[in-house]
């Protein structure tokens, strides 16, 4: 009997591993071309101002400066990811007449070195007329508030409504109704590689851009649009990307300004954003003001929920409209709500634009929902696990009008976590275990870009020595999709990982894929790769059939480089031998196959959903309010695991980022100015703060996923803040509804509690 899988579900070294650990992996950050110039960007010091005049003369006169560009040198196109919706395309990148946030680009310089370019920035004279600004969504929506964009009355950028069932009837029937207000903070991606690009425009009118991105296809199309070039005269190369987390699939100022400068000079221009620019002027997680009203029966059965959200949009739409929809959709996850109503408003403010970040609205939703569920359970005297189990989604459940859940291991996850909590026994004082359940999409079905291409495509070419060239459009930014795709290809074709040579990160040679966002690569690119591999395998098997002359009842397959009869695996031929003959037989043509995937009729959000439950064990110091994480255990259903090493890494990494969101990371502002734009004052989790982590895999089979696989990595950002908040609640009796849960807030709440007790 042969093993079910010979590649899948074995821990495999990242295929880029050796390049990365020997320092040979070449990021766009490392690119150096002959005669390359260096660029710097001048940014607005005002949160809201008219640009009256820009004088670049002095800067241009500085020795070593080669060119200065401003909004006047652009085509003045307002771009955005929703190409079909004019009002959602609102960002020029180089502002022509008005700036709307501190850090908005107004000019860019190319010079012989970075120091000269920096010096030239000081010589550019910009005359502004400062305008009154507005910095919070609840202020910006008021009558008479300063208006950012002409088209957006009362600064309303996008609205979203979701509704099913009879909510009003549900509340009438409820034994217990709770209302809570929450504030979810912002968070920065903090990719270790800051945004950067090297652009090279040549006299044949072709532009090549090396950059750090999550989607070379998006950047190609957006650049060609704003620069007035033909789509395929723009080549985008992104072999390695030093972290993305949602920050790198929109057109950014480094890509745009370096291209513009290069088109003027016909020389390569490199722009690297500094860490400070990265904080001030790239996108960030959307802050949200949440109101939740929930009605339940005495026994904990959920009846009705109403959610209302105002999100701080910042100055431009970016990807923010989707965060607004997803936070509403995932607010109802992962439970069965007979009735649900959601209204969300995204409001423009004079702050850095908010956009996609790992979880994309769902971490905010999950924090509020899971905090409130524990409060309800506490009100009714029901165990937190029991109330969740009672209302959990199950396989085959339909979210009315939105989605169909196929595989769902949520109740098994609850069982595993319950068992772990019991094994911990009684905790010492000031310690608590909080849980949070979550679900997430496995490939967003959002064609905001209105692409005519398939969502994912793959091409395979099998060479004479059996080596397989696999061409994919997806982008590895550390999440390990290169390895996942290689494994899927090897498994389906029946070879080993070493037989595959992967080609990615280049619009010139790779088929289109929409990129690494919305947890889409494993499912969408994975299905495309699997289809291409199956077609290539079919061609090889056709040649083997002649040799093996199987009876019609014997089907052929390839596994671990052995072409054989499925029913009698010992009868077979070497894959290498068959390939050689097959290519000869095809008059010398290599074996070529293509695969593609586009979701059709798979609901509004995603073809599949991952699920999980996380338990956080935390200690609160009652004297200082300091929270220490002790343990974090996650039971997790990502369908069939492809690479266990990759899944574990994704899980631990998501947890670290999400815990940061829960209690250390924040972007405090004063009149639109971020007060901590550096890695000293912005507190990401360090190694010494990491708790013990444990992963419990609950395997399900997802019919829509390649080999039954689903997403693993982004959804894991959802539960931690809620689980951490609930741990603090169980340790101290305090429920903090305002992220991040800092020592100051804990101390303040403790003081309040003592006052209340005295009364």
């Amino acid at each position: 009997m042969m093993k079910k899988y010979s590649v899948i579900n074995t821990p495999i070294h990242n295929i880029d591993g050796i390049a990365k650990i020997t320092g040979r992996a070449e990021y766009a950050f490392d690119i150096k071309l002959p005669h390359m110039l260096y660029g710097k960007i001048l940014r607005s010091p005002y949160p809201h101002a008219k640009i009256l005049k820009i004088n670049t003369k002095k800067a241009e006169g500085l020795t070593g400066v080669k060119a200065v560009v401003t909004g006047k040198d652009t085509l003045g196109i307002k771009q955005g990811i929703w190409r079909r919706f004019k009002e959602l395309c609102d960002e020029e990148i180089l502002a022509r007449s008005k700036v709307r946030y501190i850090g908005e680009p107004v000019a860019a310089v190319a010079a012989v070195d970075e120091d000269t370019a920096e010096e030239a920035l000081d010589l550019i004279e910009v005359e502004y007329e400062s305008l009154p600004g507005v910095f919070g969504p609840l202020e910006a929506i008021k009558q008479g508030a300063p208006q950012l964009h002409e088209h957006a009355e009362r600064n309303i950028n996008v609205t979203r409504h979701i509704e099913w069932g009879d909510v009003d009837e549900g509340f009438k029937k409820a034994d217990h109704v709770r209302e809570d207000w929450f504030r979810c903070s912002s968070q920065h991606h903090v990719c270790m590689e800051t945004h950067n690009a090297v652009a090279s425009f040549t006299p044949d009118k072709k532009l090549t851009v090396w950059t750090s991105t999550q989607s070379h296809y998006y950047i190609q199309v957006l650049l060609s649009w704003v620069l007035g070039l033909r789509e395929n005269d723009v080549r985008v190369i992104s072999r390695y990307t030093g972290g993305g987390f949602g920050s790198k699939f929109e057109l950014d100022s480094a890509q745009f300004c370096s291209s513009l400068l290069s088109m003027k000079l016909f020389k390569p221009v490199k722009i690297i954003l500094t860490r400070e620019e990265e904080f001030m002027a790239t996108k960030r997680r959307t802050p949200m003001f949440y109101y939740l009203r929930t009605g339940v029966k005495k026994d904990g059965t959920f009846l009705a929920k109403e959610g209302r959200v105002f999100t701080e949009g910042g100055a431009y739409t970016s990807m923010g409209a989707t965060a607004l929809y997803l936070t509403g959709f995932f607010q109802a996850f992962p439970y069965v709500w007979p009735s649900y109503r959601y209204d969300g408003y995204r409001v423009y403010t004079n702050t850095a634009p908010t956009s996609a970040m790992r979880g994309f609205g769902a971490p905010q939703a999950t924090f509020c929902a899971e905090t409130q569920i524990d409060l309800i359970a506490n009100d009714l005297g029901i165990d937190p696990i029991k109330i969740r189990r009672k209302n959990a989604m199950y396989p085959g459940y339909e979210v009315p009008g939105q989605a169909t859940i196929q595989s769902c291991g949520l109740s098994q996850c609850l069982d595993k976590i319950e068992k772990w909590i019991k094994s911990q026994g009684k905790l010492p004082p000031n310690r608590g275990i909080g849980i949070a359940a979550y679900g997430f999409m496995s490939g967003g079905i959002f064609n905001w870009f209105d692409t005519p291409y398939a969502f994912s495509s793959a091409v395979i070419q099998v060479k004479i020595d059996g080596k397989v060239d696999l061409y994919i459009g997806s982008q590895d930014m550390g999440q390990g999709s290169n390895t996942t795709m290689t494994m899927i290809c090897a498994e389906e074709l029946g070879v080993q990982v070493e037989d595959i040579r992967l080609h990615m990160g280049d619009t010139e040679s790779c088929p289109v894929d929409l990129g690494a966002w919305g947890s889409r690569e494993t499912l969408m690119q994975g299905n495309a790769v699997k289809m291409a591999a199956a077609k290539a395998k079919q061609q090889i098997i056709e040649y083997a059939a002649a040799k093996l002359s199987p009876n019609i009842v014997y089907d052929l397959d390839i596994k671990d480089r052995w072409v054989h009869l499925i029913a009698r695996p010992e009868r077979g031929l070497s894959y290498y031998d068959v390939v050689k003959e097959a290519i000869r037989g095809k008059d010398g043509q290599p074996i070529i196959a293509r695969g593609h995937y586009t979701p059709h009729r798979k609901g509004m959000i995603s073809p599949a959903y991952s699920f999980g439950v996380q338990a956080v064990d935390a200690e609160v110091d009652p004297d200082t309010g300091k929270i220490t994480l002790k343990n974090c255990v996650t039971a997790h259903d990502c369908g069939q695991v492809i690479n266990p090493l990759g899944v574990k890494g994704q899980l631990e990494g998501a947890m670290a980022m999400a815990a940061g969101y829960g209690f250390t990371e924040d972007l405090p502002m004063d009149e639109g100015k971020i007060l901590n734009p550096n890695l000293v004052d912005y507190k990401v989790l360090r190694a010494t703060e990491m708790p013990e982590t444990k992963v419990i895999e609950v395997e399900t089979y997802e019919p829509e996923g390649p080999f039954g696989a689903k997403e693993a990595g982004e959804g894991l950002t959802n539960p931690t803040a809620g689980a951490l908040g609930n741990a603090v609640f169980h340790a101290t009796g305090l429920s903090i509804k305002n992220l991040p849960i800092t020592p100051e807030k804990v101390l303040e709440a403790l003081k309040e509690k003592k006052k209340e007790e005295k009364k």
Binding site: F85, K86, E87, I141, H151, E153, R154, I156, V158, T159, R160, H161, E163, V167, D168, R293, E306, R308, F310, R341, D343, Y345
Partner: protein, 72 residues
Amino acid sequence: MGYKCPSCGKIWPDTMDLARHVFGTGDQAHKDWVNSKGLNFIELLLIQTMEPGNKGYKALAELLEKEAEKVD
């Protein structure tokens, strides 16, 4: 049987869905249509959000019941 959006012509099964569509799209054309009928688009949105009971959507659905073209 359905209702046609007076602004863009998209057809919806009932006026509540049509109201959701009008709010959800929320572009200038849709806003203008609502405002031209004596209601204030943004005030409706704010009522919907700040007060319980789905009031904003109901008010718009009532207007659409009267104004939108019924199609078979």
